[in-house]
């Protein structure tokens, strides 16, 4: 066990950012703490100041704001589950949340924490990336918004600069006919994803796909989008997407994957599964939009 740390408790976002700025790399934001506690106990991460965000208000909202879906960084995975009924996309995100850790850890673990931990196998990254989610970041110099795919820069690495904190995830343009699906392979009912894939589809009024997202988890240092699969889907009808295009999208997923072998699964298995899971994710989106979800 590592040494003790000093506990800081900001009560506003500004205060939190100030604390982080003044202590720099020796300070660590503490959200739900479910990853931090383990990493700190194991000595993987070491810091002198723990900035507990529990008491910062207004960071835990999940709400529709016009055609945006806004998810506060301190909303828990359990909140995400409980808010499933809000929108077709929260339905998919809630289903994803229910696959993650356990009920009694989901009540602690936050969405922001999960994303800032930047694990390659994080379950929320693929569906959010496929939806084109953006990360809102607050820092000493003010606020900026970047695509979630750019938020992750490597294994356990993010684009957060010194003093910056993730405040919110924004999914733009969620109006109209949209659907998303996250699929993964796991061992027991509670597990880390061995490999995963998510799809997002938006239809125009004529029933053609106008927007598509396909993203893979646990096959690269960060979540990766399968642009070629997305390009294929755009302009298709749901029928075309389900018949043939999904299959080709799967092949593109295999080509995009850059998996490694570890104790959970081999590179080969992970790579092969991206195709199956991508096809299933697209198939599920189609089924939802056809009213059979």
């Amino acid at each position: 066990m590592a040494n003790n740390f000093e506990y800081l408790r900001p009560t506003t976002m500004g205060e939190a950012v100030d604390m982080k700025s003044s202590h720099g790399a020796r300070a660590q934001f503490w959200a739900g703490g479910t990853d931090m506690m383990l990493q700190w106990k194991a000595g993987i991460t070491d810091f002198d100041y723990c900035i507990d965000l529990t008491y910062v208000p207004d960071l835990d909202q999940i709400a529709l704001d016009g055609d945006q879906l806004r998810i506060g960084a301190m909303a828990t995975l359990d909140d995400l589950d409980l808010q499933s009924g809000l929108h077709p996309l929260t339905e998919a995100l809630g289903e994803t949340a229910r696959m993650m850790c356990t009920k009694q850890t989901r009540t602690l673990a936050t969405i922001g924490g999960n994303l800032c931990n930047a694990s390659p196998s994080a379950d929320l990254s693929p569906p959010l990336a496929a939806m084109g989610a953006q990360a809102r970041i607050l820092g000493p110099d003010g606020e900026r918004t970047i695509p979630l795919t750019e938020f992750f820069t490597g294994v356990r690495k993010t684009a957060l600069a010194d003093g910056e904190m993730l405040t919110e995830i924004v999914v733009p343009d969620v109006g109209g006919d949209v659907a998303a699906s996250y699929n993964r392979v796991a061992r027991t009912v509670v597990d880390i994803a061995l490999v995963s894939s998510a799809a997002f589809i938006k239809l125009d009024s004529s029933g053609k796909i106008t927007k598509a997202g396909v993203a893979l988890g646990a096959v690269a240092p960060t979540v990766v989008r399968v642009n070629k699969a997305e390009d294929l889907l755009i302009g298709c009808s749901l029928k075309e997407a389900a018949n043939g295009v999904a299959n080709k999208a799967g092949e593109h997923a295999i080509a995009t994957a850059n998996a490694i072998t570890d104790i959970r699964a081999s590179k080969e298995y992970r790579t092969d599964m991206t195709s199956v899971l991508t096809q299933r994710a697209i198939g599920r989106c189609v089924a939802i939009l056809e009213g059979n979800g």
């Binding site: 392979v185 796991a186 061992r187 009912v189 061995l194 104790i263 081999s266 298995y269 599964m273 199956v276």
Partner: protein, 783 residues
């Protein structure tokens, strides 16, 4: 005279009473090792090796000792020059001997005022190793030029069971199938961890820890420190699930070393990681086998060679597995088993040792044979598995201190052996009735589509059914000695003193039921002491299904002896009779068995009068076994047959268990709730082994990589059908207490083959365990 009669009607045995500590468990009040504390207690931590094999050249603890709050450090230099032997002849050697034999091996220990200071002190101990070559591969450890892990060498003697003739078997075979399976090591992965507190006060040593084998631990301390057993008191606390993990472990000896050095009570509490990577685990096992079958479905040849790695301090030798008996209908058999040391964490007997591994290999080959001759798995088992009364394939356990069993038994008088089952013949039960009833309940024949044929296909989801069988012993002699004492107090209440474990198997309840039944008192009058070696007679404790069968027998014999003494006194004092045989105790009342005779006296009244007689100096009645128990290894087995349906996703390799039916023949059921839990618990242990469980060792230094539950996957409620059912076949045993036998292992052994067979039927290929999604896809691709 070791065979007790079976009463017509049982009053306490067979009742579904809640376990005695149920209220403590559901209120969180039951104290386990980690919860226990004593006054003035300080805290210890263990320094563990970072290399797989090395001799300590120097160890400097001066900086650690200088840290404020540190009370003492022990290293191999403090270790007594004495060997201690654990349960089942596991030769640990000295507590510390200056050699590290695996990553995580104990090197030194620190005591300090707080756990945190002790932990900080560990980092200040400087160890210089002479690095020795390590052997991390089981097969390589067999080679003559392999690095030797132990002074005794790596390779233990082979145990062999032979019947018939291999050459004849080959000639008689119409088909011969072969396989080799390497089984990953299963982790005990107990929920609950463990802690040990030791107080070395003057010449008296007291230890509190969770253990299944309190007396063996007492013996271990006696051996390791060269002090009389009378000076050693072990108070065994309940443990979390154990499966053989918490017997007598070397970290307990290290706690004693610290306590001796600093003369204060010391507590060492293990972390989950230590429990999962540095104590014990199941062996890595490799089975190579051939099986022959004739076209009429008769197994003609069973030829198996089995290798198991002992890790650093395991000493598995003289091993014998009961799958040989289970498939005893084979005409010719040759089973060979060897243990070999490696520089991996110690392995030990885990639930259903050998029968979950080698037994699975035997079942697999039998299934392959059955397919060759196109007989379904139920019929094939019925044709080739042993039946009650038949000769067991096991003949003699290997040499031991008292000679062979036969020699030992031959020395007994005919009176002592009166009514004994025939040696090396199966006394009771078999899989046959389980298979018959199970197949009917499961509608197996209707649902069976043929070998390698799914019962249904829906897109990528293929379903298949399967059946598996398992067997194990009911205690083992010479190493499994046991006893029990029953004391009747002057209020008519009863104490049972019996050294066994409380790891959730419910023995304290079932043994109490046995004592209450035999004595004729209600269960609430019985209080059992299972953990305090100052009170109990020595017993090898709870392992190898000794407790219900052998300790239960001893408990019944002790109760019988107490009852005999009570009735002798009662006959004279209350019934003007010199024939105690005419009396009986029912519901705590002593009565004549003659219905015309209405005289009676309560046990309480008689005991009270007895205790008040100051001249007699008999204040309590103490019963003990005064008969010889037949050697159970020579006739008693437990049986399981299980049926399952699984669904395999052929695109991802994921497997779901949809349906589970577990049949169990453990003789008379003493407590249905307790036994059902044992059976389903065993099945889930076996299912975990079949699907996900296996330790991953670092290929370079042998450390355990998945030393937490994040990556050592255990089945949860959602992974196993909630409507799984258990049924019992109660073939009463002529020797076991009220006809009961053992239970814990056979259900674990039956589950894996049932699931494997169901997967084979679903997808048409055999998958080696653990059948992870990836393993399934690999097997499908290799087809």
């Amino acid at each position: 005279m070791g065979v007790h009669h079976m009463p017509k009607k049982l009053k306490v045995v067979g009742k579904d009473v809640p376990v005695l500590d149920a209220r403590e468990k559901v209120t969180g009040a039951l104290e386990y090792g980690v919860d226990y504390a004593v006054p003035k207690m300080v805290h210890g931590k263990i320094l563990r090796s970072t290399i797989p094999h090395g001799r300590i050249k120097s160890i400097d603890s001066s900086k650690a000792e200088a840290l404020p709050g540190v009370l003492g450090v022990v290293t191999h230099e403090d270790s007594p020059d004495l060997d201690w032997i654990g349960v089942w002849d596991n030769y640990r050697g000295k507590v510390l001997d200056g050699i590290a034999r695996f990553v995580g091996d104990e090197v030194a220990a620190v005591a300090a005022t707080t756990e945190k200071i002790a932990e900080q002190a560990l980092a200040l101990i400087e160890v210089e190793y002479e690095v020795l070559p390590a052997v991390l591969d089981v097969r390589k450890a067999l080679l003559d030029d392999a690095p030797q892990v132990r002074e005794e060498g790596n390779v233990r003697d082979e145990y062999r069971v032979v019947w018939g003739d291999g050459k004849t078997g080959e000639d008689e075979s119409d088909h011969i199938v072969e396989l080799e399976i390497q089984f990953k090591a299963q982790n005990y992965a107990g929920i609950g961890r463990n802690a040990c507190i030791c107080d070395w006060n003057g010449e008296k040593v007291t230890m509190w820890t969770s253990s299944q084998t309190p007396s063996e631990l007492q013996s271990g301390i006696h051996q390791a420190f060269g002090i009389p057993m009378s000076s050693v008191r072990v108070v065994a606390l309940p443990s979390g699930c154990s499966f053989g993990l918490w017997w007598s472990n070397n970290f307990m000896m290290l706690t004693a070393m610290l306590a001796k050095k600093i003369r204060k009570p010391v507590k060492i509490e293990l972390t989950s990681q230590e429990c999962m990577a540095a104590v014990k685990r199941r062996h890595i096992e490799i089975t190579t086998g051939r099986m022959g079958v004739s076209n009429d479905g008769q197994i003609t040849l069973a030829d198996f060679s089995h290798l198991m790695d002992n890790g650093a301090y395991g000493f598995k030798t003289d091993v014998y597995f009961f799958c040989c008996d289970l498939w005893g209908g084979a005409k010719n058999g040759d089973y060979r088993v060897r243990g070999v040391s490696t520089n991996l964490v110690t392995s030990g007997c885990m639930r259903a040792v050998g029968d979950i591994t080698m037994g699975l290999a035997v079942e697999r080959l039998a299934d392959m044979c059955a397919e060759k001759v196109n007989i379904d798995p139920v019929d094939f088992r019925m044709k080739n598995q042993i039946k009650s009364g038949q000769q067991l394939r096991m003949q003699e356990p290997r040499q031991h201190m008292k000679g062979t069993l036969t020699e030992y038994v031959d020395k007994l008088t005919d009176v002592q052996k009166e009514g004994w089952p025939e040696m090396f013949h199966l006394s009771s039960g078999s899989t046959h009735e389980l298979l018959r009833q199970g197949a009917e309940k499961f509608r197996f024949k209707e649902r069976w589509k043929g070998w390698g044929k799914p019962s249904s296909v829906n897109g990528s989801k293929h379903r298949g059914i399967g059946v598996g069988t398992g067997a194990h012993c009911c205690g083992v002699e010479f190493g499994g000695n046991t006893s029990s004492v029953v004391r009747v107090n002057h209020d008519g209440s009863v104490n049972v003193f019996s050294s066994c474990g409380r790891q959730g198997q419910g023995s304290e309840t079932t043994l109490s039921q046995v004592a209450a039944e035999e004595l004729g008192v209600s269960l609430d009058m019985v209080n059992i002491v299972t953990g305090d070696t100052d009170a109990m007679p020595w017993s090898s404790g709870s392992s190898a299904s000794t407790t219900m069968f052998r300790t239960g027998w001893a408990t019944r014999a002790a109760a019988k002896d107490a009852k005999k003494q009570i009735l002798r006194i009662a006959a004279i004092e209350y019934f003007d009779s010199d024939d105690p045989e005419t009396l009986d105790i029912q519901d705590g009342i002593i009565r004549s068995q003659n219905p015309e005779d209405n005289r009676n006296v309560s046990l309480e009244e008689m005991m009270n009068v007895l205790c008040s007689d100051s001249l007699a100096q008999t204040t309590v009645i103490t019963g003990r076994p005064d008969e010889v128990m037949p050697p159970t290894i020579a006739f008693a087995r437990q049986w399981a047959a299980q049926f399952t349906e699984v669904e395999v996703d052929v695109e991802t390799g994921e497997i779901r268990i949809l349906e589970f039916l577990a049949g169990q023949d453990s003789g008379t059921v003493v407590n249905p709730k307790v036994l059902k839990n044992q059976v389903i618990g065993g099945a889930i242990c076996g299912a975990g082994f079949a699907l996900y469980e296996g330790i991953e060792f670092d290929e370079n230094d042998g450390r355990v990589l998945n030393d937490g539950l994040l990556d050592y996957k255990l089945l949860r409620t959602g992974d196993f059908p909630s409507d799984a059912e258990v049924f019992f076949v109660e073939s009463p045993d002529p020797v076991g207490p009220f006809g009961a036998r053992g239970a814990g292992e056979s259900p674990a052994a039956a589950a894996a083959p049932a699931i494997c067979q169901a997967v084979y039927n679903a997808i048409g290929v055999w998958v080696d365990v653990p059948m992870t999604p990836e393993a399934v896809i690999r097997a499908l691709n290799e087809r």
